[in-house]
Amino acid sequence: MGATTAEAPQAAPARRRKKTGAAGAPKTPWWLYVVVAAIVVFCLFPFYWMINISLKTGADLTSGKAYPPSPTLANYESIFQNGDFTRALLNSAVVSVTTTVLALVVGSFCAYALARLRFRGKFPILALVLSITTFPAIAIAAPLFRLWSDIGIYNTWIGLIIPNLTFALPLAIYILVSFFKEIPKDLEEAALVDGATYFQAFRKVVVPLAAPGLATAGILTFIGVWNEFLFAITLTSSSSARTVPAAIAFFTGSTQFELPLGTISAASVVISIPLIFLVLFFQKRIVAGLTAGAVKG
């Protein structure tokens, strides 16, 4: 990379090169465009193929054509008439939103204390929190499979919200600590000098300033829970609590020979599109959150 720029007679200074298309910026070599195009195809083509399948029915499905010869929305109509799928959307929404809100509320207190207040034992707490995010879900799912039946919350929303919190809460805490750390301390100090209590300083100064951090932690937690699969299939037994990923898997699993892949693809497209828009809309925040959670942390 940059091989051509190296030989350019007068290499532009680094700061100017950052500006795309600025006059005097070195030309992007042609092969770089090829690589960029290859990456775009790599990322988007599988999604295109699934859309392609979702618009086909009957004989078209098995035609192997790269475009639907007679595009139809029949698959989309059928999934919205499927009570199991619409119920799964509701289940997913309830479980994801509840888990996210709980994780953010409880987690933001903990994260604030870790980021700002002086007390002993921060390091072990953070190490514990981080190590829980690496737990294999199977180690929680196995005991809960029995425990939930014993206490009667097998196949319920609450039975899914609790194990999802296991991972959502540490994730939220971890992302929030690094965001709280970045808020300048002076503002809080000023509030304290003006007579605010610590709790007022937290609620009136830190929380509003931390709104972008809360949004990031919220989105990442939400996506994590929306994506969750192992609990969703292990701790449910019917469509009354089954979330979208589990519902899609059960479309798949029921008949091995004649898979309704057109319908499954349509369902997959439907649930992916809002998520893709959410991610694209909050791009910057998500990338910041991911790097806070993994690279820095």
């Binding site: 990379m1 091989a3 190296a6 680094a14 090169r17 795309t20 992007t28 770089l32 690589v35 960029v36 990456i39 990322c43 599988p46 193929w49 699934m50 987690g107 903990c110 870790l114 980021a115 007390f119 921060k122 390091f123 953070l126 190490a127 514990l128 981080l130 190590s131 690496t134 737990f135 879900a137 199977i138 180690a139 929680i140 799912a141 196995a142 005991p143 499979f145 919190l165 296991t166 809460l169 750390k181 000098v193 209590t197 610590y198 709790f199 699969f229 292990t234 990923p245 898979l259 693809s265 997959s268 992916s272 998520l275 893709i276 791009q283 998500i286 990338v287 991911l290 790097t291 820095k296």
Partner: protein, 310 residues
């Protein structure tokens, strides 16, 4: 770890105390009140199930009489470790983790370098690259199924083969690896890109002046300076790969040589209702993952310590 903590906390109070003491709750009490709900919840939703899982794994359960159980000691563990199917799942998981993480690193590094170098395409790339990450894992599985399953997909048509990709032994695992690479290489790229962007460009300029070739700049500057970011991303991804469940479950029903540590444990306790053995397998997975996790926590220990500082 323990002495590091004390040194950090002991170093803290020496700083000049701002005039804070009188108002509201004391700092330490407030900290306790703010931290304890999370800690209680974590104890309830993480520590308790894991403890109960270990207890389950040390017992045997009657198939005929519900609720009847007896102490089994480590028998479930010896059964699991003597089971060739468990070892098959173990090796599938290891191959999956090794292959997918390596490919993700190579492709992710290439993508990150491209994003870093491409002035015009950067915006588009940053957006496009998030699409695979945003797609649900289950949907990823469906997607790769539509591409590889014979009459629907195009893979056999293009290659001119009639391979049963999802039903034959080495191929099914290959498809699962490819699906995972597709979904996560972009994520890896974003992490590496973040690392690339903090390398000061002056270093490159200086190297150019000294006559270093592009390859030399890559191997002598970029790679060494990226190593910390790459290392964290690698361990992070390895931890994820060792827990893999969704892709084999949906793509191949964990059949055809694609069973993993998580799928075999889940099948044993949920489908076959052998609670003791299934729990033992889950605990074994937990131990394997936690061993890698320890390495992870040690690697990022400096960062955690940074966050823990006042």
């Amino acid at each position: 770890m323990a002495d590091a903590t004390t040194s950090v906390t002991e170093a803290a109070p020496k700083q000049t105390q701002p005039p804070r003491r009188s108002k509201g709750l004391s700092e330490r009490r407030l900290a306790f009140l703010m931290v304890s709900p999370s800690m209680l919840l974590i104890a309830l939703v993480a520590a308790y199930p894991i403890g109960y899982g270990i207890w389950l794994s040390l017992h045997e359960y009657s198939v005929r009489v519900a609720g009847l159980s007896r102490w089994a000691g480590l028998r479930n563990y010896t059964t699991a470790l003597g089971d060739s199917e468990w070892w098959a799942a173990f090796w599938h998981t290891m191959i999956f983790a090794g292959a997918s993480v390596t490919l993700e690193l190579v492709i992710g590094l290439g993508m990150a370098m491209t994003m870093h170098a491409a002035f015009r395409g950067q915006g588009i790339l940053r957006t496009v690259v998030l699409v695979p990450w945003a797609v649900l894992t289950v949907v990823t599985a469906v997607m790769w199924r539509t591409m590889f399953q014979s009459p629907l997909g195009f893979v056999n048509t293009i290659l001119g083969t009639d391979t049963v990709w999802l039903g034959d032994e080495p191929y099914a695992l290959i498809v699962i690896i490819l699906a995972d690479v597709w979904k996560t290489a972009p994520f890896m790229a974003l992490l590496i890109l973040a690392g690339l962007q903090v390398i000061p460009s002056e270093i490159y300029e200086a190297a150019k002046v000294d006559g270093a070739t592009a390859w030399q700049r890559f191997t002598r500057i970029t790679l060494p300076l990226l190593t910390p970011a790459i290392l964290v991303a690698l361990i992070f991804r390895t931890l994820d790969a060792l827990r893999v469940f969704d892709l084999p479950f949906v793509l191949t029903n964990a059949k055809s040589g694609t069973s993993t540590l998580s799928t075999i444990a889940q099948e044993t306790f949920a489908s076959n209702r052998i609670y003791g053995l299934g729990s033992a397998m889950a605990v074994l997975t937990f131990l394997i993952v936690m061993a890698v996790s320890l390495i992870y926590i040690r690697t990022v220990g400096g960062n955690i310590r940074g966050l823990a500082e006042d």
